[in-house]
């Protein structure tokens, strides 16, 4: 099963490499990884999506917790949560396809953020599944470039990941 693990990490040199190293060292898989400082400049927030059965995920969270630079973590998929990913996609948009791309982008609530006479650059935000669905929907169009941020997430309701 796919899990989204959110981590508060000491914002120190080398801290990220310890997290990433742990995954390769123990043969765990990283599907996506996002990282940026939080409102507290001493902390970074990492969000990792990974796949594994309950036992593997338990080992992953235990080993992450053992890292001295990991302050706190939560497996968002254990409860109700919001996940978002941002995608920038550059497609060929000329002739009849130009309208088709625009319509599909509108349906997915995407925004065209850059335009040339033959190209659209579209910005789309949503769950990873929604971004995948958009890519499937425009499969007839020539895709020139895709840049996805990876998943970021937060728990629903009162639950908070903080120090």
């Amino acid at each position: 099963m796919r899990h989204i693990i959110s981590i508060l990490l000491e914002n120190e040199p080398g801290a990220l490499s310890r997290v990433v190293g742990l995954f390769s060292q123990r043969n765990y898989n990283i599907e996506s990884l996002t990282v940026a400082p939080t409102d507290d400049h001493t902390l970074s927030r990492l969000t990792i999506t990974t796949v594994g059965d309950d036992r593997k995920i338990e080992q992953i969270t235990k080993h992450l917790n053992k890292l001295v630079d990991v302050v706190k973590l939560v497996d968002l998929t254990e409860g109700a949560h919001i996940e978002r990913e941002l995608m920038l996609i550059k497609v060929k948009a000329s002739g009849a396809q130009r309208d088709e791309v625009k319509r599909t982008a509108d349906i997915f609530r995407g925004q065209i953020v850059d335009v040339t006479s033959t190209i659209y650059s579209i910005q789309l935000v949503g769950t990873s599944a929604k971004l995948d669905a958009f890519l499937a929907a425009i499969s007839g169009v020539t895709i020139l470039e895709v840049a996805r941020t990876g998943v970021s997430g937060i728990s629903r309701g009162e639950k908070v990941l903080s120090v």
Binding site: G14, S17, G21, R55, E58, K66, V68, V70
Partner: protein, 566 residues
């Protein structure tokens, strides 16, 4: 500043080797007499010596190496300590801050290269950070599940011209690092209930009991309950090896009775052991009828390989104390009748005498006989450091340790070349004790340069070399699984004359070739109390280590000799 911080941390001794990036530190060492520096002959040996010191004393071993090759040479020793959870501080020099990343002379990314084999690491950015980094490093290395911590220091950070007001912090608190305190009382209660209701129990304990100073409590628990005890390779000595409740070591080369008892048990209490593959054999066939109670200070060790029915995260001493208290006040009593039947069954397995040694013909020496002889001569009370291979297993099987911290070996990583420098660390820690290194002619040649260190510091180590003129364990596997094709495991024509070799280093060498000479010559060697003696014992080269678990089987599946299996 660094040396002062080490002294303030209570460090008496560091093992090291100088080089460009640590010259400021070496100059500071020259100008003081509080922290003694031991000059080894190779950085790997520095880490093993510090490791041996740590295992024998329980205090962290401290290593000082230079940047680049000094740092990389230390890696094997750091990994060895990491796998066996040994507290160690490794201080490595680094090129000047301004040169980092430029492929400067003797530059290597030590923090990066050591990352998978350390508990934590630091790169010191400013001189004024040194005291706090040292404090944190020792705190992390010695608490919780211990392990090695690296402190990488760029040369400019130790420049004596960069002065700052020094004060050593009294305590340290890290928001991202906490040490598990006591175990969960509810879980301990549950475990005790299961333990008392057991009909075929086994206490299976590992290195955590040694590291966590839990031997006395374990012994008390075992005696109170009357249950059988088995130790892992790392846990030997945690329970008295000569006690009648002790079944011997378990696992790949464990005793028949220990492995059979594990397989047929209904309750296994694992304490400070990690159910590793050398113990469990095939996981799916492991202890099919047993409830697993697992006590460990590291939550990640629990249910890593074998799922625990009752996991308890906590220090060995606190959990054992609580267990003992609960047992004392419990209304449920041990099922003596079932226990008696269980012991009867175990006695039946013991009658196999799986470790019985059949003397060889023609005055040939069996390696097991050498260990038995060593046990007799040292009264079973020596510190025995071992290298890795057949001799290691023979030592583990035939030298029953009654006290913890007497058996010093590389269990997890299996590092050849570990034993000799580790025996140095032991001797430095206890100058008057008998420090023995049991080795083979293969392992010994991996760190023999330390003969020079032993001369310099007059270390009277006794090296017992089980010389079978081959990489014995490799050869054994080639015998058993590769049709006897000895691919690169024999070298009898190119072995050095060890007696002359050690004499060249100013020590004493003895060669023993006949069984009839074994006792007298060994006794003579051990009588030379103030000299290092290398005892080169020519043993039966065809001998295998038995019992040996059968790959793909359960714990009950063992090869007992060249002709017998379970």
């Amino acid at each position: 500043m660094l040396i002062r911080a080490l002294h303030d941390e209570g460090v008496e001794m560091i093992y090291g080797y100088p080089g460009g990036a640590v010259l400021h530190i070496y100059d500071a060492i020259f100008n003081q007499d509080k922290v003694e520096h031991i000059l080894v002959r190779h950085e790997q040996a520095a880490t093993h010596a510090a490791d041996g010191y740590a295992r024998a004393t329980g205090r962290p071993g401290v290593v000082l190496v230079t940047s680049g090759p000094g740092a990389t040479n230390a890696i094997t020793g750091i990994a060895t300590a990491f796998m066996d959870s040994i507290p160690m501080i490794v201080i490595s020099g680094q090129v000047e801050s301004s040169l980092i990343g430029s492929d400067g002379f003797q530059e290597t990314d030590m923090v990066g290269i050591s990352r998978p084999v350390v508990k934590h690491s630091f790169m010191v950015q400013n001189p004024e950070d040194i005291p706090m980094v040292v404090k944190k490093a020792f705190y992390i290395a010695t608490t919780g599940r211990p392990g090695p911590v690296v402190i990488d220091i760029p040369k400019d950070v130790t420049d004596p011209k960069r002065k700052f007001p020094y004060s050593y912090p009294e305590s340290v608190k890290l928001r991202s690092y906490s040490v598990p305190a006591k175990g969960h009382t509810g879980q301990i209660k549950k475990a005790v209930e299961i333990l008392l209701a057991a009909k075929r129990p086994v206490l299976y304990t590992g290195g955590g009991v040694v590291q966590g100073e839990g031997s006395a409590l374990l012994t008390e628990l075992a005696r109170t309950l009357g249950y059988p005890v088995t130790n892992t390779l790392m846990g030997l000595g945690a329970y008295p090896g000569s006690d009648k409740q002790f079944l011997g070591m378990l696992g790949m080369h464990g005793t028949y009775e220990a492995n059979m008892a594990m397989h047929y048990s209904d309750v296994v209490l694992g304490i400070g052991a990690r159910f590793d593959d050398r113990v469990t054999n095939t996981i799916s066939k492991f202890c099919p009828g047993a409830k697993i109670l697992h006590v460990d200070i590291d939550p990640a060790s629990i249910s890593k390989t074998v799922a625990a029915d009752v996991p308890i995260v906590g220090s060995v001493t606190s959990v054992l104390e609580e267990m003992l208290e609960l047992i004392r006040t419990s209304e449920t009593q041990v099922d003596r009748q079932a226990l008696e039947l269980w012991w009867k069954q175990i006695e039946g397995w013991r009658e196999k005498e799986c470790l019985k040694v059949t003397p060889a013909q023609n005055d040939v020496i069996k390696p097991q006989q050498v260990i038995q002889c060593l046990y007799d001569i040292t009264g079973g009370d020596a510190y025995v450091s071992s290298d890795v291979g057949q001799h290691q297993m023979f030592a583990a099987q035939y030298y029953p340790f009654d006290k913890p911290r007497r058996w010093i070996n590389s269990g997890g990583l299996g590092t050849m070349g570990f034993g000799f420098p580790a025996a140095m660390g032991v001797q430095f820690a206890f100058p008057d004790a008998v420090s023995v290194c049991v080795t083979g002619e293969g392992s010994f040649q991996m760190n023999l340069q330390e003969l020079a260190t032993c001369l310099q510091y007059q270390l009277p180590i006794k090296i017992v070399c089980l010389n079978n003129q081959a990489l014995g364990m490799v050869k054994q596997w080639q015998d058993m699984q590769y049709g006897g094709r000895y691919s690169h495991s024999t070298y009898s024509e190119s072995l050095p004359d060890f007696v002359k070799l050690v004499e060249a280093y100013g020590h004493v060498g003895v060669k023993i070739e006949k069984f009839s000479d074994l006792k007298t010559k060994m006794a003579e060697a051990f009588a030379l109390k103030d000299r290092l003696v290398f005892i080169d014992v020519m043993v039966d080269p065809m001998e295998h280590v038995y019992p040996m678990s059968i790959k793909g089987g359960a714990m009950k599946d063992m090869i007992l000799s060249k002709t017998e299996r379970t």
